[in-house]
Symmetry: C2
Subunit: 202 residues, 2 copies
DNA sequence: GTCAGTCACATACTCCGAGTATGTCTCTGA
DNA sequence: TCAGAGACATACTCGGAGTATGTGACTGAC
């Protein structure tokens, strides 16, 4: 039976949240490299000891943030994909959801701008294997199965399409709020064109 | 009249070269973040003082390397583009030249894998404004002028296509030598598809 | 009720590496 | 020949990540 968490447990969860929130703010504004752990601790009104109690390292803190963001945002994109019968339609729906998420100030900035700098390319890719990269791969598989994409595509298409997503995410993350809607539209075009081109390239 | 450089000048140019070569090796193998300037100096058989005499900082050293690489490799790609009459044919020729350059062990690893980590996204983009990014932009302009691409494209297409180049470059940089030729072929397909898709998307 | 043990941090430290300040030797030009 | 500058080497500072240790609060066993 799920007994209420002890008072102690509540408090520690509160500081963990405070640390994640502070890190999200600072990493988004100043960037990962230019924020020290002392800064994060100060904003969360604790000390560095608290950080190393809850997280393994500075990249570890970032990764926890990353996981949290991807779990919700990428889940929404996957839901948008799976809601559609046609994989191409679903992929474009997921793309729209993705572009929308990147328009929100934190997601794109952290997951596609800061993450490679904070974790390095390999670790980043490894993290993404569970989220955006996996979703992209699944969508391409579904489109292949539906005959919308040449059957014998290699790993390159997935990597390159993922690069497109990253570029779009970064672009939106640095776009002023008033221009984001227009830029989202412009970002959509290359993906549509790519799918159209793949459909006629056998 | 271009008098011979003094003995002094020859020596200093030699150490500068040794530093750049050592940095190229270490940055390629261990990565920018995991190599200290003392390491670079040791391989070049000098000390850190020599580095700061020739370069402004650690990113400054990297940037000098970057410029040197792009000057030659990107020049070849641009030449390949300009040698063709048809802009689409020229763009694909430049792409092939680019993919070939990224198959060589240093170029792709430094310019597309390490550079964003070493310089940060903004500074990297600023450096690339003179080279790959500029070439890409010029090629898209030429194709637009030739009616191969919708006229009112925004900045997004350039950014996203540049993201594709980066992804392809990184992929080739981490591909084993024996697989590179096959992967180059796979990398070509998405670009061809994109251009084909843009041509029919008005 | 108390006491051992553990959790959730705070405090105080180490260590590494980028950047700086300064010294030294050599070459050059007046 | 001597003043100056160029080309480094040496010795330092300093910031920040990571570590070791201390401490108070809570909890669970007896």
């Amino acid at each position: 039976m799920p007994e209420v968490k002890s008072r102690r447990g509540e408090y520690t969860e509160a500081t963990r949240r405070a640390l994640l929130d502070a890190a999200a703010d600072l990493f988004t504004e100043r960037g990962f490299a230019r924020t020290s752990l002392d800064d994060v601790a100060a904003v969360a009104r604790v000390t560095k000891g608290a950080i190393y109690h809850h997280f393994s390292s500075k990249p570890g803190l970032f990764e926890a943030l990353f996981e949290e963001l991807e779990r919700t945002e990428n889940g929404a994109a996957r839901a948008a994909f799976e809601a559609e019968e046609d994989p191409t339609v679903g992929a474009l729906a997921a793309l729209d959801q993705f572009l929308l998420a990147c328009s929100e100030p934190v997601y794109g900035a952290l997951v596609f701008r800061e993450a490679p700098l904070a974790l390095g390319w390999d670790a980043w890719r490894l993290c993404e294997e569970k989220y955006s990269y996996a979703l992209l791969s699944d969508m391409l598989d579904a489109m292949t199965a539906a005959g919308r994409i040449p059957a014998h595509r290699g790993e390159a298409l997935t990597s390159i399409a993922f690069g497109m997503l990253g570029a779009a995410g970064q672009l939106l993350a640095r776009t002023r709020a008033e221009d984001r809607e227009r830029v989202r539209g412009e970002c959509r075009a290359p993906f549509v064109a790519l799918l159209a081109g793949l459909a006629i390239t056998e």
